[in-house]
Each structure stands twice: as structure tokens, then as C-alpha cells.
């Protein structure tokens, strides 16, 4: 028994993170949680919506970092990313798939609980591997850096365990979101030209992914990638 008279506050040892890291980590967690949600989302439309939501969280993070660290360039980036990733990219995918008329993808190779446990394992791995690196600085929300690595690994899992073209494409786009979070956290000063080039590149990639998805659907009449098993050896 610890004794009645001990003031409880004296028991509180753990350091509270600053409000900046708190919010940055919170937004990164939202990104990570939406990645987990994509892992189980059964409908292609819900997956695209989740991607849009995730991009919104990334945009919010960009705006927040811009405000908190006084980097006006990032506002421009936030606006661009809002326009491109939250609105244009999902719209493009939805439009490309309008004539596909395949709603329920249900392409899980594993059960949801198994997938989630695997993903948790990957996230823990990412977090601890990066946590062992001396990437520290006063202005850096360290947890956000490690969590963005977790987002990237879970995106890989998404591409691996889901066998339909939508999930795989969304997996790649969300991988890019994870990298965006990393760049916002550790490289907020990246020149705007470069960031814009990245975004433009993503847009091109989206179009190409979309074209290939259409070609695939046109040839095989399905969104599943299970039929892609001819080439081996």
C-alpha cells in the first residue's frame, strides 16, 4: 500500500509531449488508422473515400506544420494537396471505374483479424527499427516520423494481401501519403518546386494506373488480379 497521504500528482513521471508534437502525432495517427481501415474496407468505393480522407489528414498536417513552424510555402503545398489528393485523384479513379460496375471487391487473402495483427506487427517493427536511429531534433515530433514508416509498411501489406487492382493502386497512393507525412515531419523545408514536382508526378502516376486498370478490366472483365498468373519463371 503506497499510503494515503501521497499526492497523486507526484506519481506522474512521464513527460508530456509539446502541443506541436501532440497534434502532429495525432494527425499522423489518423493517417495510420485510415491505412488500417483501407486494409479491411471491402468496397472499392469505400477504399477510395478512405484514401481521400487520409489525404485530408495529410493536408491538415501540412497546414498545421506551416502554421506552427512558420513555413509559408507549405500553405501552397497544402492547397495543392487538397486539390489533387483529396479531390482530383479520387474523382479520377471513380470516373475511370464508372463503367467497371464492380462494387464489391472482397479480395482479402487473409481474414481481417489476421491482417490487422500482421499489420500491427509490421507497424511495431517499423516503429522500433526507426526508433533505434538517432533521428532527433527539438522541432521534430519523433513519433510522427516512426509512425509514417509504419504507414508505409502497412501500405505494402495492403498491396500484398489485397488482390484487386483498386486496392493495389490505392495502396501505392497511400504509400505516397506516408512518404508525404515523413517529408512534412523531417523535411518541412523541402523546396516548393520539388514538392510540386512530386505532386505532379503523382498525378501522372494516377492517370497511368487508371489507364492500366481500365485496360485490365477491359481485357479480363474483372478487377481481381488473380487472373494475372501467366508470366512466371
Amino acid at each position: 500500500m503506497i499510503g494515503v497521504g501521497v499526492p497523486v500528482a507526484a506519481l506522474v513521471h512521464s513527460q508530456v509531449p509539446s502541443a506541436f508534437s501532440g497534434v502532429a502525432e495525432g494527425l499522423t495517427l489518423v493517417v495510420l488508422l485510415s491505412e488500417f481501415a483501407m486494409l479491411r474496407a471491402p468496397l472499392s468505393r469505400s477504399q477510395i473515400r478512405l484514401y481521400s480522407f487520409q489525404s485530408l489528414a495529410v493536408t491538415a498536417l501540412a497546414a498545421y506544420v506551416a502554421a506552427a513552424r512558420g513555413i509559408p510555402d507549405l500553405y501552397a503545398l497544402a492547397v495543392l494537396s487538397l486539390g489533387l489528393k483529396v479531390i482530383v485523384v479520387p474523382l479520377v479513379i471513380v470516373r475511370l471505374l464508372r463503367d467497371a460496375r464492380v462494387e464489391l471487391v472482397a479480395s482479402n487473402r487473409l481474414s481481417v483479424a489476421t491482417m490487422t495483427l500482421l499489420a500491427i506487427g509490421l507497424a511495431v517493427f517499423a516503429v522500433f527499427v526507426l526508433g533505434s536511429l538517432p533521428v532527433h531534433s527539438h522541432s521534430l515530433p519523433a513519433a510522427a516520423f516512426n509512425l509514417s514508416a509504419a504507414v508505409i509498411l502497412v501500405a505494402f501489406l495492403l498491396v500484398i494481401v489485397r488482390s484487386d487492382v483498386i486496392s493495389q493502386a490505392v495502396g501505392f497512393f497511400s504509400l505516397e501519403n506516408g512518404v508525404s507525412v515523413t517529408s512534412l515531419v523531417v523535411a518541412a523545408g523541402l523546396p516548393l518546386v520539388v514538392e510540386v514536382a512530386f505532386l505532379f508526378d503523382l498525378l501522372v502516376a494516377v492517370v497511368v494506373f487508371g489507364v492500366l486498370m481500365r485496360v485490365h478490366h477491359g481485357r479480363t472483365d474483372t478487377l481481381s488480379t488473380d487472373v494475372l498468373d501467366r508470366l512466371k519463371g
Binding site: V8, L11, R40, A143
Partner: protein, 323 residues
């Protein structure tokens, strides 16, 4: 600080117990009433649970053939457990009461688990298939939700370096940054899901259903009658309120507790606490009415979600952001 007009600590402690004991059926009644309104019904009176209990206590107890003494002891043991737990948790006061350090979060968890176990054991005493089904399901899902509870406990331990509910509440109260820190929010959210599961709410269970196949917790009491059933119902109301206490006063909103021992402050704390409990009940009702129940085999997904949140809480704490 005004001297003289202070309650002694044991009195407050008994007050905590009494608050749970007395108000638990009322809170359940109020929630049922709100729920009925949501569904466009008039619903039972708020005080209906008390009438039900009174009626059940007047009835005779029927014991199935072949059932041993465990069948009747189960409800009593569970009820006793629910009376012990309020001694351990920050219900009305910010400071801990004499027996408050008798058990930590794990201790409280063990006692709650013992209660669940004795009810399940009593149900297993009968030959009735639904009761058996209920007890086996309840134990299965209790085991599945256990990792989440553990990780919530870990995150509390990492935040406070203790596993005392009082310390966690104090940590969350200490500053705004502490209250919104991601680890705390994640742990709170994970615990919210745990409570959702433990109080038998949608998406895990339809608590007002009469369909035995979907039942988990409810099915366990099917064979009981009379005072034993009254104890079970009362106990389950108390369990719900205890879990609300943990959710509110440890994680979600540990404000409005009495800082002193004056009767006025304690009384105010009781009122505030009941208000918060009703608010939480309202949230649960909203969820109840906006989601559908998961298929039994999909419940593991729900458990996985709770586990994910709890693990993330611990992860975030392990990185520079926390400890």
C-alpha cells in the same frame, strides 16, 4: 480550507459504493428511456428497473434439476464483486480514499473478471443450451478483449509509471497537452471499445434483443429467476456504471471530481458524475442506433480494432513523444 464540516474518508468511500448501488438501475432506466425516444417509442419509465428489481425480489427462486449450489452462489459472488470495485476507482474524489490503493487497474480488472466468471459458471451449471452457449461465448470474447485491456493498462503504466487509475486521471487533468496527447486519446478510445464490448452493446451484441442466437452476455441469465435474477440484473447495471466511471473519470473527462472532503463538494461530485454517466450513456445509445450488429464471427474484427488502438497507444508512448 474550512475545518470541521468535513466528512471522514470511510464515509466518502461508503458513499462511492452507495452511489453505484443506488443509481445504477436509474442510469440504466434513463438510457433505456432515451433509447426508446430515439426509436420513436415512449419507452418505460426511468424508474422501471427499480420496480423490476422489487418485483423479482418478491418472487420465488427456481433452481434447475442437477444444478448445484454454484447456481445460486454465482449471482451473489458477482454482486459482491461489483460492490468491491467502486472502492478502488476515482468515482467522486480526486484524492484516493483509504482502500483506493488496495488494488490497481489490474486488480479491479481481476475482480470484474471474477464476477463475469462466476456468472458464467452459474449459467454453465444448468443444462439449458442457450445459457451454456452464452457463458461459453462470453468467456471467449472476454479472452479476446483481454489483450486490449492489457495494452490499455500498459499505456497507463507508461504515462504514469504506476498502474493506479487515480494517477492516470491526475495525469490527464494536469494540463491540456496531457489531455490531448495522442497516447492518452488512443488509450481512451481503446477503452471505449472495451466498454462497448463489456456492456454488451452494438456492434458486439444487441442488448435489448430477445433473439437467443445473437446473445452473449444476456443468454447467461436465462435460467435464473427471483432474487437471484434480481441480483444479476442489478449487478449488470452496476457493472455498466463502474465501467462508465473508469471511462469517464480515468480517461475521457476526469474533471468535476471533489477535491475536498466537504459534504457540498461530495454532493456536487455525485451530481456531476451522474450527469457525465448519462452523457456517456447517450453516446452509447447513439452508437446503438446508428450501427448494426456484427455477425458473431466478425466480432474478432471489432476486437482487432480495439487491440490496434491500444497497441498504438503503447507504441506512441515508447517513442520520444511520450516517455
Amino acid at each position: 480550507m474550512v475545518a470541521g464540516a468535513e466528512l471522514s474518508q470511510p464515509v466518502i468511500q461508503v458513499g462511492q459504493d452507495l452511489t453505484i448501488l443506488v443509481f445504477a438501475p436509474g442510469v440504466s432506466g434513463a438510457i433505456a428511456q432515451v433509447e426508446a425516444r430515439f426509436q420513436g417509442r415512449r419507452g418505460p419509465r426511468v424508474l422501471q428497473p427499480y420496480y423490476d428489481l422489487a418485483k423479482l425480489f418478491r418472487k420465488e427462486t427456481l433452481v434447475p434439476e442437477d444444478a448445484s449450489w454454484v447456481f445460486l452462489a454465482g449471482p451473489v459472488v458477482a454482486f459482491m464483486c461489483y460492490l468491491v470495485v467502486p472502492l478502488l476507482i476515482p468515482e467522486l474524489t480526486t484524492y484516493s480514499l483509504p482502500l483506493g490503493y488496495m488494488g490497481d487497474i489490474l486488480g479491479g480488472g481481476f475482480i470484474l473478471a471474477l464476477a463475469g466468471f462466476s456468472v458464467a459458471l452459474a449459467a454453465a451449471e444448468t443444462d439449458a443450451p442457450y445459457a451454456q452457449l452464452g457463458s461459453s461465448r462470453a468467456m471467449t470474447f472476454a479472452a479476446l478483449i483481454e489483450p486490449s485491456i492489457l495494452f490499455v493498462t500498459f499505456s497507463v503504466a507508461l504515462i504514469t509509471t504506476t498502474d493506479l487509475p487515480y494517477a492516470e486521471a491526475a495525469a490527464a487533468r494536469s494540463s491540456f497537452a496531457a489531455a490531448i496527447r495522442p497516447a492518452h486519446l488512443l488509450a481512451a478510445l481503446a477503452f471505449f471499445l472495451v466498454v462497448l464490448n463489456d456492456t454488451g452493446r452494438i456492434p458486439v451484441e444487441t442488448h435489448s434483443s430477445t433473439l437467443e442466437f445473437g446473445m452473449i452476455d444476456e443468454a447467461r441469465t436465462l435460467e435464473h429467476s427471483g432474487p437471484a435474477l434480481a441480483l444479476l440484473k442489478w449487478g449488470s447495471n452496476m457493472k455498466q456504471l463502474i465501467l462508465y466511471v473508469l471511462l469517464i473519470n480515468v480517461f475521457a473527462a476526469p474533471w468535476g471530481l471533489a477535491g475536498s472532503r466537504q459534504p457540498g463538494a461530495i454532493g456536487l461530485a455525485v451530481v456531476v458524475f451522474l450527469g457525465k454517466a448519462l452523457a456517456v450513456g447517450l453516446v452509447f445509445t447513439l452508437i446503438d442506433n446508428s450501427f448494426s450488429k456484427l455477425r458473431l464471427f466478425k466480432i474478432t474484427e471489432f476486437m482487432a480494432a480495439a487491440f490496434l488502438l491500444a497497441v498504438l497507444a503503447v507504441l506512441v508512448l515508447f517513442l520520444g513523444g511520450g516517455a
